[in-house]
């Protein structure tokens, strides 16, 4: 490649000093180049130093860190040794930074346009009038709705995905030479992620700007990057073109990262459940449940979330609950746990009806249903020793004390594959994955029958997350606990759940055994979710955008409707006059597979055949027609 070198990072070293004054090396001699119009991806797990390196391009470090060596040259000038006045001009002027969370970046009290144009005007790169014009151009390029007027809105008046794109407009407004994107899609739903990725890719290409893309997600990298730098613990493991790294990785660590990439959701990945733990009655069951927030008026919640939910969990089974944010996944688990009493409907445990409010439930009932919180960081009391955190349920439910309790704590730590010595540590002294294991261990200590896991792997790195899933599978086999596993990540659920419940806007749109749900016929929403899971394949983004469900499905938020099918406004098969007015009927298929849709089964199957044909046309895989079960 003979393109002009824009930015050179040469033997960059960054260190921190701990309380004892010892030097802790964070970045240990990193060298790479960025050419004009090129996207360089920095990839690695948390603690690999990728964000620290990306910030160095702005001649900035987080407080407590120091540059100890190396150079960062923009057009041959070292930005690290520039006088502060020039560095100030560089930041937001030559190099623009996009933080992970747009919601935290935008000031809620100032209109979007003012914030988007601020840096460009401040650095004198554009006048306010030019900047306004440029901003509108960018809104169009980023395919924002109502592009001419969106700038007059406040940040809370646009959706999360739109805000993320607006942040890109903010960065691009002053025509920076280099853009730094720090995990810009990590916190988004898959469907929103596609929308943002597509816009980023388009605008980077049109503007011919260079970018540093920081992420831990290889599948995302495969879509946007030209050059990949693989980092581990502040050192470069491997770097090369996207084709080279994705298709022919050489370093063992890169290969390990590849393995942790979740497979494309497909039928047949789940593990067979042994019949060891079977019983006559279902473990936990929810019947005709309606729930919401804001109190109950006339038997209906003021803010309805879930409507007429029927879900049952068999002994020793893993039921995956999937849907975008705002679909009511967590609410469902909270109702089961008794944290939110339902407005209507029953919760049944081992054939006995449970009280809606956990304060009215018996201790033995509380013990049998355990809730595992999403964020281990906040779910574990920072002032309690691990031994006490795990020991408390043992003491509380089972009356264990003293030596007996200690022995049991060690046993449970072993069950979650942690050393017994961890009992004497505080949560702060553990890594993220280890904390999540403790979080699970606390629930396990109660010796429950059902564990409600709310997005327990969402905040973890891919390798760590994969290990936690492995652990959960082992636990299921060893203890016969049933799991309700909530996730927005279909591939995680597909690789691990026995049954899948697809929630959309508070309704169950499809449910059944994993293998059935992931095979056609699909509910149109399930189809959208499956198509949105990024594949680690160059060109996937372009391919998937060709699919018809993408045209209407993405870039729209979840809306909870009181009449008709909530998916109506995003559905490629929507029937006007029916779908928007009547509640969809439930189509019963074999093995308890249910789809709630107005569209006939034949039509769903036919659509699927068309989709496959389009897909195969692109992929040229030449496979046979997808296997289809007709009931």
């Amino acid at each position: 490649m003979n393109r002009e070198k824009l930015f050179e990072v040469k033997d960059l070293r960054i260190s921190a000093y701990n309380d004892e004054g010892e030097e802790v090396k964070i970045v240990k001699g990193v060298t790479f180049d960025i050419h004009k119009g090129e996207v360089v991806a920095l990839i690695g797990e948390s603690g690999s130093g990728k964000t620290t390196i990306s910030l160095a391009t702005l001649a900035y470090t987080k407080p407590g860190l120091h540059f100890t060596g190396g150079e960062c040259q923009l057009f041959g000038n070292d930005v690290l040794t520039m006088p502060p006045v020039q560095q100030r001009d560089l930041r937001g002027g030559n190099v623009a930074y996009l933080a992970q969370s747009a919601a935290a970046t935008f000031n809620p009290a100032i209109t979007i346009n003012e914030q988007v144009t601020e840096a460009a005007v401040l650095h004198g790169r554009l006048t306010q009038a030019q900047a306004n014009e440029r901003a509108i151009e960018l809104y169009h390029a980023l395919e924002l709705p109502d592009a001419d007027r969106i700038g007059y809105r406040y940040p809370h008046q646009v959706s999360g995905g739109q805000l993320q794109r607006l942040m890109a407009a903010m960065a691009l407004c002053g025509k920076p030479d280099l853009m730094v994107l720090d995990e810009p899609t990590t916190a988004l739903d898959v469907t929103t992620q596609i929308e943002v990725l597509k816009a980023f890719k388009k605008v980077i290409k049109e503007e011919n700007s260079a970018a540093v893309y920081v992420t831990h997600d290889l599948a995302v990298v495969a879509q946007v990057a030209d050059h990949i730098v693989v980092l581990y613990s502040g050192e470069i493991m491997e770097q090369g073109s996207v084709d080279q790294i994705i298709n022919h990785p050489t370093h063992a660590y890169t290969k390990r990262l590849m393995e942790a990439v979740r497979p494309i959701p497909e039928a047949g990945q789940g593990v067979e459940v042994s019949g060891d733990h079977d019983r006559v009655v279902d473990n936990i069951e929810v019947r005709n449940m309606t729930a919401g927030y804001g109190g109950i008026v006339d038997g209906e919640p003021v803010v309805p979330i879930l409507k007429d939910i029927n879900v049952s969990v068999k002994n020793g089974h893993v039921v995956g609950v999937i849907g975008e944010s705002g679909c009511g996944k967590s609410t469902m688990a909270r109702v089961m746990a008794g944290m939110l009493p339902p407005a209507r409907g029953d919760i049944i445990l081992d054939g006995n009806k449970l009280e809606g409010d956990l304060h009215d439930r018996k201790l033995s009932e509380l013990q049998k249903v355990q809730f595992v919180f999403q964020m281990a960081d906040t779910a574990l009391n920072p002032k309690q020793l691990i031994g006490n955190i795990i020991g408390r349920p043992l003491e509380f439910y089972h009356g264990l004390t003293g030596r007996e309790k200690h022995a049991k704590v060690a046993e449970i730590l072993d069950l979650v594959e942690l050393p017994a010595a961890f009992a004497n540590r505080y949560p702060m002294e553990l890594s993220g994955g280890q904390k999540q294991r403790i979080n699970l261990a606390r629930s396990l200590a109660a010796n429950p029958e059902v564990m409600l896991c709310d997005e327990v792997t969402s905040a973890l790195d891919s390798i760590v997350g994969a290990n936690v899933i492995k652990l959960l599978t082992n636990l299921r086999d060893k203890t016969g606990v049933s799991f309700v596993f909530i996730s927005h990540d279909l591939s995680t659920v597909a690789s691990f759940a026995d049954e899948i419940v697809v929630l959309y806007a508070g309704r169950v749109v499809e449910q059944g055994p994993t293998d059935e749900v992931l095979e056609p016929p699909f509910h149109p929403y399930t189809r959208l979710l499956i198509s949105s899971v990024p594949e680690m394949r160059i060109g996937w983004l372009e391919d998937t955008m060709q699919k018809r469900e993408m045209a209407v499905g993405i870039a729209r938020g979840v809306e909870i409707t009181r009449v008709g099918c909530p998916f109506y406004n995003r559905c490629p098969l929507a029937i006007e006059g029916t779908c928007d007015l009547k509640v969809p009927p439930t189509l019963e298929l074999e093995n308890g597979h249910q789809i709630a849709c107005h569209v006939s089964l034949e039509k769903l199957l036919e659509t699927e055949r068309e989709t496959q044909q389009i897909l195969h046309g692109y992929e040229k895989l030449g496979e046979e027609d997808p296997q289809v079960h007709v009931p």
Binding site: Y232, A252, L366, F371, K383
Partner: protein, 307 residues
């Protein structure tokens, strides 16, 4: 050769990944060290606390004895003994009065602050945990007290009940309990919405256990730093009451009234008012510096965590 080092490095990385892949290999460190400022300040505070106990026994004179030859004598040898810091307006030994006064000033403030804390934390956490009408009731009463200027309120209460040490302690305690309540309630509310409290609630734990095991340990550190500050305020409050003549009643000594009594001496070039003022300053500043040091440490470890 280079290839070989490359592979060993790869192996090293993989070994790290396999054996406790998920990072920290460093053993947990739970050292708590103050800076030298912290040590000096602690020494000063400890010194004054010791004086509270042994002050009267090491004082060269009794606090009420008028042993000097004259008022406002400079430091030095007098007819009846050595006045290390000179004499005050009634020709009493300034050093002895400071040594005696430590007991009153620091003792009263310490007891008052402790009572203020007991009251404030109990009610504050209760309001945070219970919420609803209980919270509403306590908070409004608290707001009403908080709205009155502290010195005015103190003056009115003492004017009505007369000045005695129990009344002083009680007044200071109630006045300062209001701000402790505010802090405790805010902290409690923050902690109550944390997932670990919800986890305890879903387990079926009672209110008492949640307060004791989940809320209080997490509120302890900020409350402790605030304790230092609050103690300083109470010292100053008692001193200012004494300065107005409503605090500790003469002839008993306390630092605040000593400053007031000897103020006129400044015009004669006497240091009799300066020494008690310095005592107040050294004690309060030392406490503030310790508090700063502790909170800087807490903040520092937080920054380290982010790295």
């Amino acid at each position: 050769m280079t290839e070989q080092t490359a592979t060993t490095k790869e192996e090293e990385v993989l070994a790290k990944l396999d054996a406790f892949a998920e990072l920290p290999d460093a053993p947990p460190k739970r050292k708590f060290r103050l800076t030298w400022v912290g040590y000096v300040s602690t020494a000063v505070v400890v010194f004054w606390l010791v004086i509270c106990v042994i002050g009267p026994s090491i004082a060269p004179f009794h606090e009420m004895d008028m042993d000097g030859d004259d008022s406002f004598l400079p430091a030095g040898e007098g007819e009846y003994g050595h006045f290390y810091l000179g004499t005050d307006y009634l020709s009493r030994d300034t050093l002895s009065r400071i040594l005696y006064g430590a007991r009153n000033t620091i003792g009263i403030s310490l007891v008052a602050t402790l009572i203020a804390y007991l009251l404030g934390i109990t009610l504050g956490i209760l309001a945070a945990v219970k919420g609803g009408w209980i919270d509403m009731g306590i908070s409004r009463v608290n707001d009403a007290i908080l709205a009155l200027p502290t010195i005015m309120l103190g003056l009115i209460v003492i004017a009505a009940l007369g000045s005695s040490i129990p009344v002083l302690i009680g007044t200071a305690a109630i006045i300062y309990a209001t701000s402790v309540f505010r802090i405790a309630r805010a902290l409690g509310q923050d902690i109550m919405v944390q997932d670990f409290v919800e986890a305890a609630a879903t387990r079926g734990e009672g209110v008492w256990w949640i307060i004791r095991a989940e809320v209080l340990p997490n509120a302890a550190m900020p409350l402790a730093t605030d304790f230092g500050l609050r103690l300083v305020f109470v010292v100053l409050f008692i001193s200012s009451l004494s300065f107005l003549g409503l605090g500790v009643q003469p002839p008993a000594s306390d630092w605040g009234s000593m400053v007031r009594e000897n103020l006129q001496g400044l015009t004669y070039g006497s240091y009799a008012a300066i020494w008690p003022a310095l005592s107040i300053a050294s004690f309060t500043i030392a406490i503030n510096l310790i508090v700063d040091d502790i909170s800087a440490k807490a903040g520092g470890s937080l920054a380290k965590k982010m790295v």
